[in-house]
């Protein structure tokens, strides 16, 4: 049974980063640097968001001999979800610079 707990402040930060330009596909490491999360926090979050249907994924074919790269963007449901987020939660989702280490 899948639990639909309310998203954490970190998850909301990721959702808002993706919602800034919803049509654009994003790389995982871009999100790591933009949201100041550790990879160990980001990927489980992306998995959960994809499981909930808020995130769609795609593969960018490897260029030359490089391996393919995973891409992420919000689904329509994800965009609606972000749009419906209360402003207070959205404000809280932006990590304070002093607390970034604790949240990452």
């Amino acid at each position: 049974m899948q639990r639909n707990r309310p998203p954490s402040a970190q998850a909301i930060s990721v959702l808002r980063a993706l919602a800034a330009d919803p049509a654009r596909w994003r790389y995982g490491y871009d999100l790591v640097t933009e949201v100041h999360l550790k990879s160990g926090s980001l990927y489980p979050m992306l998995v959960r968001l994809a499981d909930r249907g808020l995130l769609e994924t795609s593969w960018e074919p490897g260029q030359g001999s490089r391996p393919p790269r995973h891409l992420y963007r919000l689904t329509l449901a994800g965009r609606e979800y972000v749009a419906a987020l209360p402003a207070a939660r959205a404000r809280r989702a932006v990590p304070h610079p002093r607390n970034r280490w604790n949240e990452a």
Binding site: G40, Y43, L46, H70
Partner: protein, 159 residues
């Protein structure tokens, strides 16, 4: 004793090198330690989550710099070990790690209770290295049930 320690350390290195080959490297794989670590961890993911392991590996290939690569790989390896649903291998790794930690705890309790001398602490260090090696070796073998299970069966059924 030094020889035993060197043998154990060599076994651990050999296991890491061997297990790193379990998930095939990409054509442009750098094959450095962070990538080997992440490949090992990605191999523990359940089939349902295997795609995410490839995603992590693909992303690692685009990260430059020793520090960032280590941080990214270590974080992803931790996530791969914790990401539900656990594959059988990941579950077994955690069970064995818990067993090894329990054994180390018992040894530490005995050492404190009976106030071991220097020789006792050296033995404790050897036991710790042995436990870590045991966990790594078992983790590697568990990913190869075709090899590990007949061996375990033969060991259990032998008189």
């Amino acid at each position: 004793m030094l020889i035993v320690m060197m043998c154990l350390a060599g076994s651990v290195v050999a296991l890491i090198l061997r297990s790193a080959r379990a998930v095939p490297a990409g054509p442009a794989a750098r094959d450095d330690v962070p990538e080997r670590l992440l490949r090992w961890a990605a191999g523990l993911l359940s089939a349902q989550r295997a795609e995410w392991g490839q995603a992590m590996l693909g992303e690692l290939d685009h990260i430059d710099g020793r520090g960032p690569r280590w941080r990214f790989a270590a974080g992803c390896a931790g996530a791969a070990l914790l990401l539900p649903p656990w594959g059988r291998a990941a579950g077994a790794v955690w069970a064995m790690a818990a067993t090894a930690a329990g054994a180390a705890g018992v040894y530490a309790a005995v050492a404190v209770r009976y106030r071991l001398d220097a020789g006792g602490w050296i033995l404790a260090a050897i036991a710790l290295v042995f436990l870590v090696s045991f966990t790594l070796a078992a983790a590697t073998l568990l990913r190869r049930p075709g090899i590990a299970l007949p061996g375990c069966w033969a060991a259990c059924s032998s008189p």
